[in-house]
């Protein structure tokens, strides 16, 4: 939440209310991103994203390096929280009641975390 996560812009669109939105690829996880604060960005750019809002543009090398640093620090869990669909639902509830976050590395055996690097 406090550290921005870099992603590559793969889609730019406007939602029905005219809000500039897009999709960003965070090392294999594609999420919606609001682009209202970065009017200058174009498709293929790398952006730093805080809670679904692109707040600055970075170059590809910086994006890759920041992503890897966050991955080593296990600071990418928030990406696992699914985007809410237009009907208000979300694919699955991300909370487990055993006190652990579902993205706890121990619960993700076999998942190729390293392959997420953008």
């Amino acid at each position: 939440m406090c550290l921005a996560i870099p992603g590559k812009l793969i889609e730019i669109s406007a939602d029905p209310n005219g809000v500039r939105m897009g999709k960003a690829n965070f090392g294999g996880i594609v999420k919606q991103v609001c682009l209202e604060y970065t009017p200058e960005v174009a498709l293929g750019d790398y952006v730093l994203v805080h809670v679904g809002f692109a707040l600055s543009k970075v170059d590809e090398a910086e994006a890759a390096r920041t992503y890897q640093a966050l991955e080593r620090m296990e600071q990418l869990q928030e990406l696992d929280i699914p985007d809410v669909r237009d009907d208000g639902s979300a694919p699955t509830t991300p909370i487990s009641t055993n006190g652990k976050h579902p993205s706890d590395p121990a619960d993700r055996a076999g998942e190729p975390i390293a392959s997420r690097v953008p």
């Binding site: 209202e36 805080h50 809002f53 080593r72 600071q75 208000g88």
Partner: protein
């Protein structure tokens, strides 16, 4: 050298550490303000690479940790209501209130949802017109643009059943507050890089000048932190007190002006209570009056709540850099990430959770039976 092989650039890290050793002639206390930096320092043992004259203390830069107990209890009161869908960032769910936490309420049937982005709450509100959708708008300056946009869009789109419970905090007044404290030992600051991505660093310049402290805006990677430490120490040794930018590849002096403009349209600066620290004047955002229809505090009129903190928890002193996590008798024994007593043990950005995650609780004795008894009474 221990840990260095984990660094992105081992040789560069060693060069910086050597330069720090050459630079330092006397003891200095530095504080990192960002919780991400704290996490990085503990994970990579950066504090242990530095010469003994340099002490790093951890600041209040974990937004989950500093959200006041009163505000958590208010969130719990609101989330309990059957007509409410309560949305939050995931980190807040296990932060202990006086009696419960949001995860416990959820297990009892309350509609508590984790969202990645506040803008998702607008979709939930549109899809559930019979419910009141409340978002727990916490965080430092990094989450403020997103939270501001969700409120702005709710008004633009006429989504009347969406409101925010605002508990925003700001970094510069917290730094000033630490420097004003008679307990303060901090002589230089590593400023929060990602906060300054949004805000720029102009507002740190009067603080550096007034309190005669160097503030170096720093990234969160280990090399960044070493470099920011070196830059701060060079200033201290030279008797300088300026704002410098270690992180220019991401941070500019002015920050993101478009985001700041919308934040200022939706929020105004007000006094804010920080957990463990107390009230700090002009240290938070609250909603402007014209957005009152989206202000959960006005809508729900939650009464004063009798708050209770465990007596043994020293998280307030940890957040101000006065104590370290392992100075706490409960750390790692009575207080663990599975059973946190204070918020600093919950979030990955909290100093206690970071110390625990990287095994520093194994290097201190467990709480005594007397301390355990004190704690049991507190609960």
């Amino acid at each position: 050298m221990k840990y260095l092989d984990e660094y992105r650039d081992e040789a560069l890290a060693k060069t910086i550490v050597d330069e720090i050793k050459r630079t330092v002639t006397k003891p200095w206390v530095l504080m990192e303000v960002c919780g991400g930096q704290t996490h990085s320092i503990v994970k990579y043992g950066i504090d242990r690479l530095l010469p003994s004259e340099v002490e790093l203390v951890h600041g209040p830069g974990c937004p989950v940790c500093v959200t006041s107990l009163e505000m958590i209890d208010k969130a719990l009161e609101i989330a309990r209501r059957p007509d409410v869908i309560f949305c939050s960032f995931g980190d807040m769910l296990r932060v202990p209130g006086s009696r419960d936490d949001l995860l416990i309420l959820k297990s009892r049937g309350a509609d508590v949802r984790v969202v990645y982005s506040p803008i998702d709450c607008l979709k939930i509100a549109r899809a559930n017109p019979e419910k009141k959708v409340v978002f727990f708008a916490i965080g430092f300056e990094t989450t403020a643009p997103g939270n501001a946009m969700s409120v702005w869009q709710a008004r633009e789109q006429g989504i009347k059943n969406f409101s925010v419970l605002v508990s925003h905090v700001l970094v510069p007044p917290a730094i000033a507050s630490i420097l004003q404290s008679p307990l303060n030992r901090v002589q230089g600051f590593l400023g929060p890089g990602h906060v300054c991505t949004v805000m720029g660093y102009r507002e740190y310049e009067p603080i550096a000048a007034r309190y005669r402290v160097p503030i170096v805006i720093t990234g969160f990677e280990p090399i960044d932190i070493l470099e920011g430490t070196l830059m701060t120490l060079r200033q201290l040794e030279a008797g300088k007190a300026e704002v410098e930018n270690q992180y220019p590849r991401v941070v500019s002096r002015d920050g993101n002006q478009v985001a700041q403009d919308l934040v200022n349209k939706v929020f105004e600066v007000g006094d804010r209570k920080w957990r463990g620290v107390g009230s700090i004047p002009k240290s938070g955002y609250k909603l402007r009056y014209e957005f009152r229809e989206h202000d959960a505090e006005r809508i729900f009129d939650v009464q004063e709540i009798d708050t209770r903190e465990p007596e043994i928890c020293i998280s307030g002193l940890v957040l101000r850099g006065v104590k370290k996590p392992h100075d706490c008798p409960a750390f790692g024994s009575l207080c663990t990430p599975e059973h946190p007593l204070g918020a600093t043990m919950v979030s990955a950005e909290g100093a206690c959770a970071a110390y625990y995650a990287y095994g520093r609780h194994l290097q201190k004795p467990a709480a005594t039976s007397k301390e355990a008894a004190t704690l049991a009474r507190a609960n």
